[in-house]
């Protein structure tokens, strides 16, 4: 993931948003999807992704499904009902944060120099 606390703090929200859009996804698929959407700008590292997925699962926000693909066990993650509600809350919170930051940054840029 891009070396910034801003991105790190939003990792779970990014994961939940992707799962909301795609239904169910597996770990590797999430890393590739983020890379694709952001045209390689944002790169979620595996070392950050799996702890975040496991934490969301333990908190009851994610459910798992396992399927045999190419003779391998593939673990898919999907949002639970509480996960869906949590996603809406986190996205609202994130949108509010972005809006406030934009206002603050715009005001700072307009501030006259004395």
């Amino acid at each position: 993931m891009k070396n910034s606390q801003l991105y790190k703090g939003s990792l779970t929200t990014i994961i939940m948003k992707l799962l909301e859009e795609n239904g169910r996804m597996y770990g590797y698929e999430i890393t590739q999807k983020v890379k694709l959407i952001t045209a390689g700008e944002l790169n979620i590292t595996e070392g950050a992704l799996y702890p975040a997925l496991h934490k969301l699962e333990a908190d009851g926000h994610l459910d798992v499904e396992v399927e045999k693909v190419d003779n391998r066990m593939r673990k898919y993650y999907k949002l639970t009902e509480s996960g869906k509600t949590e996603t809406v809350n986190r996205l609202t919170e994130l949108e509010g944060f972005i809006k406030n930051m934009q206002t603050l940054v715009a005001r700072a840029a307009l501030k006259p120099e004395y």
């Binding site: 597996y26 770990g27 590797y28 590739q32 590292t45 595996e46 070392g47 799996y50 702890p51 496991h54 934490k55 699962e57 333990a58 908190d59 798992v64 499904e65 396992v66 693909v69 190419d70 003779n71 391998r72 066990m73 593939r74 673990k75």
Partner: protein
């Protein structure tokens, strides 16, 4: 999609998949559930890399993909998975613990606490009988379920993290030291009505906790494991 010179799309074969499992084991991932997830991730990323660089050997591709996990390799993932599953375990224990406080059982709980209180007030040293009983039952049960777990592990050859937590009773050893904390009250003859009542209530709650982690959780382990690992049956019967 890129192909090799022979026109074949390079895919991970069974032997290479076994090597990936071995690789995760060598990097301190001893739990089968995590090995499966990480081996699949590595397999997928190696195949993706082969599409871009088909001439790369399996080992070269593996090392390149493993670097993406950072300097700590898999250790952070294992540690966080343990934290997450311990949290889930204690949530289940709390649920079972609360379920003991239903109308008919509450009477038994109150009677036990009152019985212990009366015994301690009549003869202070009766506390040592309760403490000894607690130790004997806990130690016997703990060693019994540990043996049961080891036998099962030998049979399946697969170590599941949540199963280990359940059969280790979430680190029950720490709870076994709680009754020792009250020994001073008895030995130094400081047992008042209030302290005797408090000790009786705490010991009764400890007995319920003891019952949940040593008896209820291991007895219902399969149900919990199937919920955490949808593949549990599939893999253990394979």
């Amino acid at each position: 999609m890129q192909q090799t010179l022979t026109g074949q799309i390079k895919k991970i074969n069974a032997g290479q998949l076994a090597q990936l499992f071995e690789f995760t084991r060598k990097h301190y991932v001893e739990y089968y559930d995590l090995q499966c997830e990480l081996a699949d991730h590595l397999a997928h990323s190696i195949e993706q890399r082969w599409e871009e660089e088909p001439s790369l050997s399996f080992d070269e591709a593996l090392q390149a993909e493993f670097k993406k996990f950072g300097i700590f390799g898999f250790s952070d993932i294992v540690a966080e998975r343990q934290n997450a599953l311990f949290k889930r375990y204690y949530r289940l224990v709390w649920h079972e613990f609360r379920s003991a406080f239903t109308p008919p059982l509450i009477l038994i709980i109150l009677a036990t606490a009152l019985g212990m209180y009366c015994c301690m007030m009549a003869w202070h040293y009766s506390y040592s009988v309760f403490m000894l009983g607690f130790f004997v039952i806990s130690t016997w049960r703990l060693s019994y379920i540990s043996r049961q777990y080891r036998r099962n592990l030998k049979k399946t050859g697969r170590k599941w993290l949540f199963e280990e937590i359940i059969f280790n009773c979430g680190g029950f050893g720490v709870m076994m030291t709680v009754p020792i904390q009250f020994v001073n009250f008895v030995l130094e003859n400081k047992l008042t009505q209030v302290s005797a009542m408090a000790i009786s209530v705490i010991l009764t709650l400890l007995f319920i906790y003891d019952h949940v982690v040593l008896f209820r959780m291991p007895a219902t382990a399969k149900t919990h494991l199937k919920k955490v690992y949808p593949e549990y049956d599939m893999e253990n019967l394979a």
